[in-house]
């Protein structure tokens, strides 16, 4: 057997794949291919061996933890639903000129954050020093600048910013949350169903609507959060 063939026969322990991203990619592609092929003969040998060793189990544990705590749902289809929840759908947000200006400021704010973490770099897009103040003050400054420039009500501006920020996953969402976070919460509350709030409180003596449990009396009350 020549060296070229021997190289392909080599199998890594599964956990070591995470040290070699290209091999992990191959592993995933091969296992995907194996899933699709029904005949046992068509299945290809994987480039890693997944035995129930302590290291492989630890690796699985870390992956499960990462999935739960770090990775988030990458589905783009949910974005439309999210957007509909956090904007005021009654407003007309179709003016392209306004959208363009708002989008520019969203990206400027991203530059500010970027500059904050990379003080050596210069950006032509931002017109305010990142060292000047915190992000809140810069967001307020941009909000005021946008209001002066566009001459539209603040609520309409907020909805434009939120709508643009949630149009794609890749657009910066910090500006929307820092400058117009209150509007997001307000819209979200308006679009959510009023949740039933339930309370069980202990009363000192028997009343008309109370229940007895182990010699004590409790009242069960139902109410709506939004009144």
């Amino acid at each position: 057997m020549n060296n070229g063939l021997r190289k392909h026969l080599k199998q890594l322990p599964y956990f070591l794949l995470y040290n070699y991203p290209s091999k992990l990619k191959t592993y995933k592609a091969l296992s995907e291919k194996n899933k699709r092929s029904e005949n046992k003969e068509d299945k290809v040998k994987l480039n890693a061996y997944r035995s129930p060793s302590p290291m492989n189990e630890l690796c699985d544990y870390i992956c499960a933890w990462e999935k739960k705590n770090i990775l988030w749902d990458k589905s783009i289809n949910d974005l439309t639903d999210i957007r509909n929840l956090i904007i005021n759908t009654d407003l007309d947000l179709s003016d392209n000129r306004l959208r363009r200006t708002c989008r520019k400021y969203i990206n400027k704010f991203a530059d500010i954050i970027h500059n904050h973490y990379n003080p050596d770099r210069k950006t032509s897009g931002s017109d305010m020093s990142d060292n000047e103040a915190g992000f809140d003050i810069i967001a307020d400054y941009y909000r005021q600048k946008l209001l002066d420039e566009l001459q539209i009500p603040e609520e309409l501006l907020a909805n434009y910013i939120i709508d643009i920020s949630y149009k794609t996953v890749s657009i910066n969402k910090s500006f929307a949350w820092t400058a117009f976070g209150d509007y997001i919460i307000k819209n979200l509350k308006e679009h959510s169903d009023g949740q039933r709030s339930v309370s069980i409180t202990q009363v000192p003596y028997k009343t008309a609507g109370s229940y007895e449990y182990l010699g004590k009396y409790y009242e069960y009350k139902e109410g709506n959060e939004h009144g």
């Binding site: 991203a110 904050h116 890749s170 657009i171």
Partner: protein, 281 residues
């Protein structure tokens, strides 16, 4: 000037342009901002420096090392501090020219390692590894001589093209990139999204696409230059190698033994060895 605009705005305008004239206008403005960018290609002489300690200067070894305390080579500005799209794309264009066409700038690892020999030997010596002074001169001399040979070999591997012509072919690549580029929202719909960090603006996605595409188009250009490019070919069952003589690329189709020369060089070498053989007979 286009530099006040973000790159995503330019692409957006280009994609939504109604007529070809409008598209051409946007593209020309883009090209003129790239070529008028202050981030020009800069080549300069760099030095591999070290200083011999004063108390060691009087020793024979110290004097030899002092002679080689500055070894010069040509370097270039390969990164820029600015993070706007214009400077970054121009930097990529500059780097590609230097890598593929500039014969003065050779920055291969093995070449630089050879140039670094005096410095390496000095620190070995200062740590207590003794070498005879005569031997030192021989080692350093040989290393620098082979560095010069290596430089000539690497120079042969570079293609011939003037900056003026390079600008033309780059504009061709950029035109293709403009027509192939997808808007960020279309890209996300069909495949994965490209950024999940709040400190990165949308331009980042387009700059990455531009740089990657320029690099790929340059590789294709290199294949075309050596007559190896086949449009749409996905046949990867052949090796592309560098000729050991002329430095050009050639396709190695032999399956039995390794080939080191391209077709014309192989014939030339065969003739030479035939002549040599005839002379010795």
């Amino acid at each position: 000037m286009n530099t006040d605009k973000y790159l995503y705005e330019i692409i957006d305008d280009y994609k939504h342009a109604v007529s070809d004239e409008e598209k051409n206008g946007i593209f020309e403005a883009f090209c003129s901002s790239i070529w008028s960018s202050p981030n020009k290609r800069r080549v300069r002489t760099k030095k591999i420096k070290f200083s011999v300690k004063e108390d060691l200067l009087n020793t024979p070894e110290g004097q030899i090392f002092n002679m080689w305390s500055e070894v010069e080579y040509m370097g270039y500005k390969s990164i820029c501090k600015e993070s706007d799209w214009c400077s970054l794309i121009r930097q990529k264009i500059n780097n590609l020219y230097t890598r593929y066409f500039d014969k003065e700038v050779i920055l291969k690892k093995d070449y630089l390692r050879l140039l670094n020999t005096p410095k390496r030997l000095y620190y070995q010596w200062s740590r207590g590894i003794e070498t005879a002074p005569q031997q030192l001169t021989v080692i350093i001399g040989e290393a620098l001589e082979s560095a010069a040979q290596l430089k000539t070999a690497y120079q042969k591997q570079k293609m011939e093209l003037q900056w003026k012509d390079y600008k033309k072919i780059t504009e061709g690549f950029l035109q293709k990139i403009f027509s192939n580029c997808k808007l960020i929202e279309d890209y996300e719909d069909n495949t994965q999204y490209c950024n999940m960090y709040d400190f990165i603006n949308e331009d980042n996605f387009y700059i990455r696409f531009f740089c990657k595409s320029l690099e790929a188009y340059m590789l294709n250009y290199q294949k075309k230059y050596y007559g190896l490019y086949v449009k749409g070919s996905k046949d990867k069952n052949y090796n592309i190698k560098r000729c050991a003589d002329c430095g050009g690329l050639f396709r190695d189709t032999s399956k039995t033994r390794p080939v080191i020369y391209c077709g014309p060089c192989r014939i030339k070498h065969r003739k030479e060895s035939q002549k040599k053989y005839n002379r010795t007979r």
